[in-house]
Amino acid sequence: MSTLAPQLINLFATLILLLSFSMISQRRIVSLINLFAIQGAALVAASFLLGYVTHQPDLYVSGVLTLVLKVIFIPWMLHRLIRKLNVRWDVETLFNVPTTMLVGIGLVIFSFSLALPISRLSQSIAGGSLGIALACVLLSFMMMITRSKAVPQVIGFLSMENGLIFAATTVTNGMPMIVEFGIALDVLVGVLILGVFMFQIREKFDSLDIHNLETLKDDSA
């Protein structure tokens, strides 16, 4: 167990990073939501495994929270949303995928070099995953910048949250429980609000293209 556990956690960490990359290059909105759900599932698996290895019941609670919210509820809500908005089969034209990938690799290297001196100090068995967590956050950040549709932007936002929770789980064996619940509540309310916004944006602009949202400039008046 003692050698298997860290390797398994590293496996899940790599899986989460790989899923971040596939999200960046995914053109179909439906597949994007599924990828997001799988990423959540990998996160849950990592939490449960760490909870088992370190005997911390808090990590089970955190895992269940992620499971309910990020693997079941939010993907279900997003699927319903895109069905209602009738964008289920939308295919987005992406800005030069190979270049984006290269920039992504650069971000991963940057994150690892930033996290390396700190990872060494971590007492957790999965402390080395900090670089991966930071890379996931930055990759999601890039996804939000490069995407022009509302739904992928929101998924980028949620995926960033996944990266942060992964950092908290692996580096510090989970945040204090009350904070975890607070974060989950904020994410839930945030997603509900964004869902409502999408309907309103659609109503006003006849499209979910964020490029429409560029009229507010300093000298527009």
């Binding site: 007492q123 936002f157 945030g190 916004f197």
Partner: protein, 484 residues
């Protein structure tokens, strides 16, 4: 039982109650009532803290000291006056058809919940809960900014949500790193995010982790403070939302974010023993002051212009706290207070002026002093105050900040003078014709509530002429808590 129960309980209860009844005609009075209750509770809490000193409450989850209790009172006070201002203002908006009963319900409920999240952010001792409260404050204000449901307000709200969401995610990463540092010192069993516990062991926190943590925390919360280059959500959100929301966003929410940065800075300074945190803050602050001054001079929309002025002043405050000497901290706290009071007063008068003119474009607003002398004079005096004319309080705090800068950081002083000069000239050139030009506008149907405007300005005036000894002692204690 501590008065804190009421400080937090009343706005929370108000938010829930108004979610059901916020569309009724009497809801606007109830809204004022809840804010009044919160303010009274905050006064009791302040009184208690002055007599008994700092205290930890409820399993150490809440911490009240001289620094945050002063911000709690300020927040409760400005929330109250803004609620008074919003009574006639939102009524006119309803007459104009911009607000419907369901929107009024949302507006009132979110107004109270927004107060709750800000007060929670100030009083909590848990750095994780500060993050949760900041994010919750973003969510409530996103709904407030988008309440008109116009395409411009939707765009502003979407940008606000996405940009602040991204920004504040960086702060969460910083918080996680902070927790990791605590984990190393206190051990996994006793690891905590409680500020007081971290403050006790701040000298042992690992410098490598804390350095990186502070950078992330400053970028994250700095986005909400509106520091350049992370400010681009701020003018949109301020300009497109209802004016009472602009007033509380500018006057209060920016302070909450500033407060979070300050708490983190105290830990960072203790852990590093260097000026790293202060230098970063001075850099960001100076950049914000100068860039905002230049942007300010190009604005045509009155609310956008004053939101750039908020960025400028928050930059000045960040710079002051970055210098970090007791006098600079004192000046920063004083500037936070007077900026809140004066900027919200300006937004109140600007609200009435734009309602009257039916536009926010400055070149189309003319002759306020003829249509409604009190609005005209209110705006004129407010602008004089914010530009740092004596005898208003902004003069005193800016004077302190500038003289301290000349002594401690002489390289920065020319930039500050240049920026303040540009801001002075451009705001005055825009506002004078608005107040004194010719006009054909008619008075409003419901008389505007101008009591809050003059109340704020009188307070700013008093703070400029004479700071009462107990208030002075309070500022000095709060400044001492920030170290230096």
């Amino acid at each position: 039982m501590s008065a804190l129960v009421f400080v937090l309980g009343i706005p929370l209860l108000g938010g829930l109650a108004l979610a059901f009844y916020g569309h009724r005609l009497w809801a606007r009075d109830v809204n004022v009532g809840f804010s009044l209750g919160t303010f009274l509770a905050a006064c009791f809490l302040t009184n208690h803290t002055i007599d008994h000193g700092p205290e930890l409450l409820w399993d150490q989850q809440f911490y009240i000291d001289q620094l945050n209790v002063f911000l709690v009172t300020l927040t409760a006070f400005v929330s109250l006056t803004t609620a008074i201002f919003s009574r006639p203002y939102m009524r006119v908006e309803q007459d104009h058809g911009k607000m419907t009963p369901p929107r009024m319900r949302l507006y009132h409920s979110m107004y109270q919940l927004f107060s709750f999240t800000m007060l929670l952010g100030f009083t909590t001792n848990n750095l994780g809960i500060i993050w949760v409260a900041m994010e919750a404050a973003t969510l409530t204000t996103v709904l407030l900014v988008s309440v008109y449901r116009t395409s411009a307000s939707l765009e502003a709200a979407w940008k606000y949500f996405i940009l602040c969401g991204v920004g504040i995610a960086q702060a969460l990463f910083g918080t996680i790193l902070l927790y990791m540092a605590a984990d190393k010192v206190l051990g996994a069993e006793h690891a905590t995010l409680l500020w007081t516990s971290l403050n006790d062991v701040k000298g042992q926190l690992d410098p490598t982790i804390i350095t990186l943590a502070f950078v992330f925390l400053l970028i994250g919360y700095g986005t909400k403070v509106g520091l350049v280059p992370l400010h681009s959500w701020l003018p949109d959100a301020h300009a497109e939302g209802p004016t009472p929301v602009s007033a509380v966003l500018s006057g209060l929410l920016l302070n909450v974010a500033m407060y979070a940065v300050l708490r983190c800075k105290v830990l960072t300074d203790g852990a590093l023993g260097t000026q790293m945190a202060g230098q970063l803050m001075m850099g960001f602050g100076l950049l914000s002051v100068t860039v905002a001054a230049f942007f300010l001079s190009r604005q045509k929309d009155v609310k956008r212009m004053f939101s750039y002025s908020s960025i400028e002043h928050m930059g000045l405050i960040t710079f002051a706290f970055g210098m970090g000497s007791p006098l600079a901290n004192f000046a920063g706290l004083l500037h936070m207070t007077v900026h809140s009071l004066v900027k919200s007063a300006i937004f109140f008068t600007v609200g009435h002026a734009t309602q009257k003119a039916g536009t926010q474009v400055m070149s189309e607003i003319r002759g306020l002093i003829k249509v409604n002398p009190t609005v005209g004079w209110g705006l004129m005096l407010g602008v004089m105050a914010i530009l740092g004319m004596p005898p208003f309080g902004v003069f005193a705090s800016e004077f302190l900040i500038l003289t301290t800068a000349m002594r401690e950081q002489p390289w920065a002083a020319p930039f500050l003078f240049l920026a303040l000069g540009i801001a002075f000239a451009s705001i005055l050139a825009r506002v004078l014709p608005m107040v004194f030009g010719d006009t054909t506008l008619k008075p409003l149907a419901h008389p505007p509530a101008l009591l809050p405007v003059f109340l704020h300005l009188v307070l700013a005036l008093v703070l400029g002429l004479y700071i009462p000894p107990y208030l002075n002692g309070w500022y000095v204690q709060a400044a001492a808590l920030l170290g230096g």
